[in-house]
């Protein structure tokens, strides 16, 4: 992602504007401190302080009351040698694979179509695709619970009507992940479409006109011109979704509670489970391990973007 271009520097002051403003320059020096102060105060109190506290906590065995004992790297080694920790990361990785490739392809396709002035009813589509995004997650998750119910759900009734057998969407470990992935796709694809659309709209239209005259097909144009031009936006979308998927918590929490057989216990839900067991030291260590994973992944994607530049 790039920052907006820096505005041109102010012109050399003209004769009239050289007259000093009657306000003292010290006020101008002081102003930014006043402006950022409320943010900094909240940030220190509810961002930095708890972060440092977590760091300290991650080296103790504290359970929320009584005295804490220093355990050194104990929580970290416990997690790193615990299959449940690795399977929570594995579950999130599988979710990533189920979601991101599909989402990027579909969203890019939709964005390209919505960017094309010849497509009709563009306003309607933009709203329709964003409806799931503005629908409260917990409400959506509840709809999923009901619609994908094995016995009474609407999806299985459609399958039955077509002569197909029931599927245990949320009750079998092979289907639970794809069903949750579908929920995530349905919920967030509209937002990714809008982000990609913003990238597409920043492309200079004359680029297309030139290549149309040269006889390039629509597909060629998409592959060799549009894709390279929106690559930064695409990478931004991928990083955004990577963060969201590895933090995913509410979806499995409401829909499957991590089951069946832990198949939907994502990294975020696994971390939350330490809290409910009051295993705060382990939870804190898990937090930092998850931060490292997410940061390495994000930087990896940013790197990927840079190396191709």
């Amino acid at each position: 992602m790039t920052l907006a271009p820096a505005p041109p520097r102010a012109q050399a002051p003209s004769a009239t504007s050289r007259r000093r403003p009657h306000r003292s320059p010290s006020r101008r020096k002081l102003a930014p401190y006043v402006f950022v102060f409320p943010f900094v105060a909240l940030f220190l109190a509810f961002g930095v302080y708890p972060m440092l506290f977590t760091l300290q906590l991650s080296f103790t065995d504290w359970h929320g009351s009584g005295s804490a004992h220093w355990v050194g790297w104990g929580n970290y080694t416990y997690l790193l040698t615990n299959p449940a920790f690795w399977s929570s990361l594995g579950n999130s990785a599988v979710m990533w694979l189920l979601i991101v490739p599909v989402q990027i392809v579909v969203a890019l396709l939709v964005a390209v179509l919505l960017d094309n002035a010849k497509t009709r009813m563009r306003g309607f589509y933009r709203v329709a695709f964003l409806v799931p995004f503005v629908t409260p997650l917990v409400a959506v998750a509840q709809i999923w619970v009901v619609v994908f119910d094995q016995q009474y759900g609407a999806v299985n009734s459609v399958l039955n009507a077509l002569g197909l057998p029931d599927v245990g969407w949320l009750t079998t470990s092979e289907w639970a992940k794809p069903t949750l992935a579908l929920l995530f796709l349905w919920k967030t694809t509209g937002f990714i479409v809008i982000i990609l659309l913003s990238g597409l709209q920043s492309i200079d239209p004359t680029v297309y006109e030139a290549s149309s005259i040269d006889g390039a097909s629509r597909f060629r144009q998409l592959r060799s011109m549009t894709l390279p031009l929106v690559r930064r936006t695409l990478m931004f979308a991928v990083v955004l979704q990577t963060l969201a998927i590895f933090q995913m918590f509410a979806e499995p929490f409401v829909v499957t509670d991590g089951g069946p057989y832990g198949s939907t216990t994502t990294a975020g839900l696994y971390l939350y489970n330490h809290i409910t067991r009051a295993d705060l030291g382990t939870g804190a260590a898990n937090s930092f391990l998850l931060v490292i994973v997410v940061m390495v992944l994000s930087l990896g994607f940013v790197r990927l973007l840079r190396s191709e530049d």
Partner: protein, 289 residues
């Protein structure tokens, strides 16, 4: 190549596109439409005949039962209070701090903004444990200040607004200074009006995030008195997944859909009314390709 075949080649992709978009749009709207319609069906019919809808048997039973069963009105009130308090904090202080970052030089600016960028990468749940303990220490568990203050001025809002404000020409600010405008006056009279489209985008996004926020409220505001709308909703859903003893599946499903419908309507209305601002705000203020 004849002119006719050229027209066919031009038209066909157009039709395919249109069909693709229509089918996809219906798939995106169907679950919401199904949920809202089903909420008006008798509970037994929702599970026995999930796809049918008989307008003559439409009923409000699910809604009345749901209102009697869970403190959803209280949830609405709590969400509204948090929305107003937290929303105004974000919409005032985030652009103000972003203005400081974008248009001034001051000590520790690089360090501070770097920390903001790192915070963007941190999972929200990481802070849950220490924040919960901090709230216990302060005696703020199940209070409005616990729901409002943490995360009130978030890193994403600052990052986004800084980008937008940086693009406002400095000449405009200097001209105002010459006219005797104070530094805060510049923010209030020049910056805010100029960035209004992006601000509208931020407003819609902020309202949505606060309205939908779930992880923090479920930890900090679990009492019936303080539960926000989303917390009330999730407690209903867990009646199904947790197989609450004695709960009749059909009844709970009906209540669930009624609650979900009621929760999504206000946000959907806000979105439909303000969708132009929202979409344009994101388009105007987001990343460049």
């Amino acid at each position: 190549m004849t002119t006719a075949s050229v027209t066919v080649r031009r038209r066909l992709p157009g039709t395919v596109t249109q069909v693709f978009l229509v089918v996809l749009a219906l798939a995106f709207l169907a679950p919401v439409a199904w949920a809202v319609l089903s909420a008006f069906k008798p509970a037994a019919q929702i599970i026995n005949d999930p796809l049918g809808f008989d307008p003559s048997s439409a009923t409000l039973d699910n809604f009345t039962r749901m209102f009697a069963d869970v403190p959803i009105v209280r949830g609405f009130v709590n969400t509204a209070v948090v929305l107003v308090l937290k929303g105004s904090l974000t919409l005032f202080f985030a652009p103000l701090a972003a203005y400081g970052f974008a248009k001034y030089e001051f000590r520790f600016k690089g360090l501070l903004f770097g920390t903001v960028l790192i915070t963007l990468m941190l999972p929200t749940i990481v802070l849950i444990i220490p924040l919960l303990l901090e709230m216990k220490e302060l005696g703020w568990v199940n209070t409005y200040q616990a729901l409002v203050l943490p995360g009130a001025v978030d890193a994403f809002a600052i990052f986004w607004m800084r980008q937008v404000i940086a693009a406002v020409p400095n000449e405009l600010l200097d001209a105002a200074r010459v006219d005797g405008c104070t530094e805060f006056g510049i923010f209030w009279r020049i910056i805010l009006p100029v960035i209004r489209p992006a601000l509208a985008g931020l407003a819609v996004l902020t309202v949505m995030n606060i309205y939908n926020d779930f992880v923090w409220p479920v930890v900090i505001a679990s009492s019936d008195r303080m539960a926000t709308l989303q917390v009330v909703l999730s407690s209903l859903a867990q009646n199904i997944t947790g197989n609450r003893i004695g709960a009749d599946y059909a009844t709970v499903t009906g209540e669930l859909l009624a609650a979900a419908s009621i929760a999504l309507v206000p946000l959907l209305l806000i979105f439909i009314v303000l969708q132009k601002h929202f979409i344009n705000g994101i388009l105007a203020g987001s990343v460049k390709g």
